[in-house]
Amino acid sequence: MISGTHPVRAEGSIRYSVLLLLEEETEGFAEFVRSLHGIFLERGQPFEILVVASGTEWFARKELESLENTRASTRILVMPRGTTQAISLKAALEETSGEILFVCGSYPQITSQSFAKLLDALDSDTDIVTPWRRHRVDPWISRVQSRLYNRLVGLLTGTKLRDLSCTVKVFRRQVLEETDLYGNLYRFLPIVAARKGFRTKEIPCDHLQERGRSGWYGFTEYFNRFLDILTVYFNTRFTRKPLRFFSMFGSGFLVVAAVITAYVFFQRVFLGRPIGGRSVLLLALLFAVLGVQTAGFGLLGEIIAFTHGRQKREYTIEKTI
């Protein structure tokens, strides 16, 4: 069945919505859907499976048609190729009604026992459950990189997690409804959601396989990851007070300028070295200009935050009595 013709289901009747993000034609996809179907059948609670196919409509149809007994609970949501995960999920949210969303990629990254463990871990004190892949099967160089990456993000955003990059996540519907996700932010869902007060639990899981590249990644990958970190760092800390971010750098530049100038003047006054033609003063001027410009961008940021963000609530209310 293609979504769009699908009637709105009664709220609350479905417990789990399983969202599979199918971004490229993946070998063994049908098998994965079948095994997920089995896992959820076993739990004995109503569920639905939605395959979000970004540019892989025909592949998804072909694979799912080969499965006989999953048809009743499986649908496909077709999105354009290259749709980011954040947008795919926001769209999927409107097409599903489960209280708990189970998101995964197009192949099992962790063992099926681990899937069950994740689902069990979502208790009343937890809003998001993410796997922490143990016994990683990818090369050591990937592990070292991913460790550094997780550490760095934890340090910058204040939400310390040990495994950010696994697509698999289990969370309450409310989490996705209330967080502003866009671009590449899905991978940082626990961090973005923490701003709204949602709590995340990491569960050790057995790593099964990793497809795509591992080891040393290409330049694009590192470049993208770096930009992601910058984005999430700014978004979690400075969207309300952008000048603080810019003044961190701007004041650094101004200090450099001041130090150079002081040095030149010190030499002039105490050592009698003439100032005229000291080219290092150009460097000082350059840094001063850089500092002022950086602060200027921060001020512009403040104006944007005030004029466009003032009406946005910063806090979320849990209860009122």
């Binding site: 007060g197 001020l299 104006i303 910063e314 849990e318």
Partner: protein, 321 residues
């Protein structure tokens, strides 16, 4: 219930103080000849604060409470309280019993006199010097730069006419700037000395890093108050020193050419002219982007003065009835 007065108190891990606080407020409020409400905002406490509030709620009809989903900081907690408040006058105070509820009637008297905001002034602060000094400096700076002359912006004990703050939604960690920000609405502001008690329970929740941020915030606040309707003007003022520098270096460049100074000196002045001009031009361009940002906003912030408007009919004096 339509209350005349709303007392908003943000609380964060104040289980030792909350009972006493409510008792003291109730004692003072007994003498009020009008309806009032006490709004406690639990800012994501991790101790028993919320349980105590729920218990107190049973026996205290004027008590209302909001629990935020996580710790958002005092400003957000206050804003959450403002949003719940139904009174025409809103009084805010600290949850740690350092403010004295017995001062509230004094604040109300000033409001009766016709002021829109009355700020408490802890003339004799009972805090360690290490906390008082940075606060003094910040106060002096805010007073000097924003044009709202108060001694003590950080004091939580304040009274507001509700319309002056309800639409303001101060953003970031800016509760000390409420009066300055509210001056955008044309509010009349005054201050009165209030009592201040040393901390009896718990620990003070301010860190040293806050102090550094305050300076960045003061800068931002000034821009917002003075230039959020005319950003180009703000940026052009920042550009003026660089225009001066450009002229200065340009004249030196011409002199260098005319009097045939050494090539090194001439080059120095050329580059310095170019750098300064670049800074000036970029700042003006940023200001123009600022105009774009303001023009594409909903312009609500430019209409803040309407909040305090009042009409006086000279020709038709009110009839005695």
């Amino acid at each position: 219930m339509s209350a005349r007065l709303s007392i908003v108190v943000p609380l964060y891990n104040e289980e030792e103080s909350v009972e006493r606080l409510v008792a003291e407020v109730l004692r003072v409020a007994q003498s009020f000849p009008f309806e009032y409400e006490l709004i406690l905002v639990d800012d994501g406490s991790t101790d028993g604060t919320w349980e105590i509030i729920e218990r107190l709620k049973e026996s205290t009809p004027p008590l209302r409470a909001v629990r935020l989903r996580r710790n958002y900081g005092q400003t957000s907690a206050m804003v959450a309280g403002f949003e719940q408040a139904r009174g025409e006058i809103i009084v805010t105070m600290d949850g740690d019993l350092q403010n004295d509820p017995a001062d509230i009637p004094m604040l109300l008297e000033k409001i009766e006199e016709g002021f829109d905001i009355v700020s408490g002034w802890r003339r004799e602060r009972k805090d360690p010097f290490s906390r008082v000094l940075p606060s003094r400096i910040a106060n002096a700076l805010i007073s000097l730069t924003t044009g709202v002359r108060l001694h003590d912006y950080g004091c939580s004990l304040k009274a507001y006419r509700a319309e002056c703050v309800r639409n303001l939604r101060a953003y970031g960690e800016m509760h000390r700037f409420f009066p300055a920000l509210a001056s955008m609405t044309g509010a009349r502001i005054t201050e009165i000395p209030v009592r201040h008690h040393p901390r009896r329970f718990g620990v003070s929740k301010y860190g040293f890093d806050r102090i550094l941020k305050v300076f960045s915030d003061i800068f931002a606040m000034n821009l917002i108050i003075r230039f959020s309707s005319v950003p180009l003007k703000g940026f052009a003022l920042c550009a003026l020193p660089f225009v001066g520098l450009t002229l200065f270096f340009a004249i030196l460049s011409i002199l260098a050419l005319v009097y045939d100074w050494t090539a090194g000196k001439a080059l120095f002045f050329f580059i310095a002219t170019a750098l300064s001009a670049m800074a000036a031009v970029h700042l003006v361009l940023l200001g123009i982007i600022g105009e774009l940002v303001v023009a594409t906003s909903d312009l609500s912030h430019t209409r803040l003065p309407e909040l305090t408007r009042r009409k006086i009919d000279i020709g038709n004096p009110p009839c005695a009835s």
